[in-house]
Structures are given as C-alpha cells and as structure tokens.
C-alpha cells in the first residue's frame, strides 16, 4: 500500500489504496508525520480505496490522530468502506475517529 498526499487550502489529504495492515501501518504514520511536520496539522485520511484494515492499521490511524492533535490540528477520515467501518464500530473507535462522506466535507464546517 502506497500513500500520497496533497496539501489543500485548509487541510492536507492523505490517500492510499489497498490493505491497511501491519505492513502499511508504518508507512501511513510516516506520511502523516511528514505532512504535519510540513505545517498541515489538519489532515484528512481518505479511505475510499482502503478495502481492509486490521488492528495495526487502526493503531496507525490513532497514532496519526494523536500526532495531528499534538500539533494543534485534527485528523479525520473520509470515504470509509464497509470492512473499515465495521472495525471502527466494533472497537468503538468511531467515537474518536470522526468520519465524513468525502475529504472535502471533513473540515468544511470549521
């Protein structure tokens, strides 16, 4: 799984397609750390093309959320697919990781 990112006006969008598992998790952490270090602490992780997430993937999202909050921003997710939604709901982490239909919508109300 490869991640790319794009800095928009009010947030940065991080995107990756495939399986967010133990192999992909450190990469996501790296990309988000890079984005935050470059000054964009409002981050949307677009999960439109993320078909699977395991506990390591969830751990990476939580770690990234902490990093964004520590930098004074936030991390939100968008385009969540069924399996990922199921993991978020089962673990109750949907209370913490706020999900939006699209990346554009994630910070539109701020």
């Amino acid at each position: 799984m490869q991640f790319s990112y794009e800095v928009k006006d009010s947030y940065a969008e991080v995107k990756g397609s495939g399986r967010l598992n133990m192999v992909a998790a450190p990469k996501l952490r790296e990309v988000v750390a890079e984005v935050v270090a470059a000054g964009s602490s409002k981050v949307v992780v677009n999960l439109e093309e993320t078909v699977f997430m395991d506990s390591s993937g969830l751990g990476a999202l939580i770690g990234c959320l902490k990093a964004a909050r520590q930098a004074g921003g936030d991390l939100r997710i968008s385009g969540v697919q069924p399996q990922v939604r199921m993991v978020l709901e089962l673990t109750n982490m949907d209370r913490v990781l706020t999900s939006y239909p699209t990346a554009e919508a994630a910070f539109s109300d701020d």
Binding site: D54, S56, L90, M93, V96
Partner: protein, 397 residues
C-alpha cells in the same frame, strides 16, 4: 541463547506462578538468562549458582520473607536487587530501612517501567544475531502458548472450552479462565500487532487481570486493571481489545466488560442470538475512557461465545459472521467441539491472524445442547460423553 561470559543472568524469586512467568518473559526479552525460584531458599541457591547480576525478589514468600532473603544474598552477592511488594504503603517503610535492596516495585506493576529501570541499570549493547527475527518469533509463539489456561474448568452444569490456532507471524490473542468461589472468571484479549511485542502485551494483560481477580466488583477490578494496562501501553501507540466476564454459576448471571472487542455472542436455548456490543474502545487506544459493566443471564441451554477477529475476517460482514458462528456452535454437542467448529470457519491457509474461540455453555437438565439435538430429531440420552461425535446437522457453513 549462549552462555558467554558477557551473558547477563537474572534470578526471579516469586511464588505466584503468573507474576513469575511475566517477570521471566520480560527479563528474557532484555536478553537475560533467567532462573526461576518459587521460594526464598531456592532463590538464594540459584543466585549463588548462577552468579546472577539481577534479582527480582517478592517480599512475601512461603518460606522465609523477602527481607531475610535480601540480607542473606548481600553476604555473597552484588546483584542488583529489585524488591516487589503488593502493598504500596510498604515501599515508604522499606525505603527507610537498610534492606540491601536497590529498588522497590509496587504490584501490580508496569512491565514497561520495570524494563526501563533495568535497562537504565544495565546499559550494555545487546548481542545482535542474524537469526534474531526468527528466534524472536519462536519465543513469541512460546510466550503466547504459555498464556493459555492449563487446567480445565470443572463446574457443575457448565461446559467450558477454549481453542486457539496461532498464525505464523504470532498475533496477540489469548484467553484465560480461573474458577472462583462463585463460579468462573474469563478473559479474552487481542493485543494489537504481531510478534514478541504483541505477545508481551498479552502476557501483561493476563497477569494484570489475574492480579485483580479477588476484587469484589467487576467494575472496580476492571478500573484498576485497565489503568495499569493503559499506563503500560501509553508510550507504545499500542492497544488491546479485552473481554472480561464473571460468571455466578448458581444463578447463571454473567457480568461482563467489553473494551473494543465486540465479538461476543449470547446464544439462547430458544434459538435467538444477541451480539454483546463493546462498552468502549480498546484499552490503551484512547485516554480517559470508562467501560461500564453489563449483565446477561445464561439460562439452561444458553451459550456465551467469544470469538477473535481472525474469524471475523473470513466473512463479509457482522451478520454473516454471527450467522455462521451461531450455526457452527449450535451444531455441536460439546463446547470443545463447538470451539473447533468456530475455528474451522477461518480457513487455515488464508488466516493471517490468530483465530481463537471461547465458549461457556450452561447445560440444560439433560446435559445436552437442546437445539441441535432436537432439530436433528435425535434427543440423546443424558450421558453426553466428551467424545461424542458431532451430529449430522447441515446448518453449518
């Protein structure tokens, strides 16, 4: 592990086998060659024989007390002595005494904290090895296997079983149970990640959960345990999903707390099924959480079934998962066979994660599972032998 002159040696003197096991694992992870002792006298002998560099010493031992052990050790050993006590208030008193110990730790302890203290004391480069990764995986698998309960549950009117199939990469699953005067406690957990890291978290969770077993209420027990576990996980960006339940065998009442697991099912004798939702996120995932306890009544013929996400991954969604697990369990006559049937739902060749199942079944009057037996139209006699073969139900799959 070789015994080169550089090899650091440790002796763990502790009578509680769970805590002893956890300490041994932690020290092995720090590359110590570890000798265990369950009594003070055995411990002194072990320190003398191994020329240990480090000793962890429980204050309350069955033969001579920890202070006396410490005094005798100091007659011949310069080892770094770490004293463990279950009573926090005792540490102040001990610190004021000239006990000969170098450090004091309060139980239940944080393995991270102990490791950090030991590392600080023994700053030396760790031996690196080309097979380190494989060694570590093999050790992680051993650790994980060692966490499973070794004693079967012998509880009148209940049939309790667990089953576990590790993945090659070693996930962090385990289950545990122990009987209590009232009935039974069970713990089912999955630590994030793979390998030794996950196995060690699992070992910590097991020991911490056992350390609160005697607390009166599940809420207070879980609060204490989760605080210790969360503190330990804090710096590692890791977490553990945890299902803990206490069964009152006489009434069938099950008090449970689910921290981010969400894969426990209540199968009723009447044919209905409820999934028990999690009360909060996994322990260590997010700070400031509370996990309220819930209750469920196990009537005769009901089953409590807890399954790991490795089984869930074999299905499209939760409904499919629930349907298949229910069918697999109802088709089997014993909890043990039912656990195996649940594991079989996750094909071995594609299972990248551990798969684990735990079942607590309250027997109905006949000692038989009513659903499968009556549906197959073959109400068996009261003697349900453990070796009974599964009936020919086609509900599975």
């Amino acid at each position: 592990m070789d015994s080169s002159p550089d090899q650091r040696r440790a002796v763990v003197i502790e009578d509680d086998p769970d805590i002893r096991g956890l300490l041994v694992l932690m020290l092995k992870k720090l590359d110590f060659e570890v000798t265990e002792a369950s009594t003070g006298l055995d411990g002194i002998r072990a320190v003398r024989e191994t020329h240990a560099d480090l000793v962890t010493l429980d204050l309350n031992l069955p033969d001579i007390d920890g202070l006396e052990v410490c005094r005798r050790l100091r007659e011949f050993s310069d080892a770094y002595i770490m004293m463990l006590t279950a009573r926090a208030e005792e540490i102040d008193r001990l610190t004021g005494l000239d006990t000969g110990a170098d450090d004091y730790i309060n139980k239940p302890f944080s393995p991270k904290e102990i490791q950090a203290r030991i590392k600080a004391m023994f700053r030396r480069s760790r031996a690196s090895s080309s097979t380190a990764v494989e060694d570590e995986l093999a050790r992680a698998a051993e650790v994980q296997q060692s966490l499973l309960p070794k004693e079967a549950v012998m509880l009148d009117d209940y049939d309790v079983a667990g089953s576990f199939r590790p993945s090659r990469s070693v996930g962090g699953d385990f289950y545990d149970w122990y009987q209590t005067p009232d009935g039974l406690h069970v713990t089912f957990a999955d630590a994030m990640g793979k390998g030794m890291g996950a196995a060690l978290i699992a070992a910590t969770v097991r020991a911490v959960m056992r350390s609160v077993a005697s607390r009166a209420g599940i809420d207070s027990a879980f609060r204490a345990a989760s605080a210790t576990i969360a503190a330990d996980l804090d710096q590692s960006d890791s977490f553990v999903t945890l299902f803990h339940a206490r069964l009152n065998a006489a009434t069938g009442k099950v008090s449970y707390i689910d921290a981010g697991h969400g894969l426990a099912l209540h199968l009723r004798a009447d044919g209905s099924v409820t999934r028990l939702a999690a009360a909060g996120p996994p322990v260590g995932a997010w700070s400031g959480q509370q996990w309220p306890a819930s209750e469920v009544d196990l009537a005769p013929g009901d089953s409590l079934v807890v399954v790991s996400d490795g089984v869930l991954d074999a299905f499209q969604d939760l409904d499919e998962f629930t349907k298949h697990v229910e069918a697999a369990v109802r088709a089997q006559k014993t909890a043990e066979l039912a656990c195996q049937a649940v594991l079989d739902l996750a094909p071995a060749d594609t299972a990248g994660d551990d798969v684990t199942a735990l079942i607590v079944r309250r027997l109905d009057g006949s000692g038989e599972l009513p659903e499968a037996a009556s549906e197959a139209g073959e109400l068996a006699t009261a003697s349900a032998a453990p070796s009974a073969t599964p009936d020919g139900s086609d509900r599975q799959g």
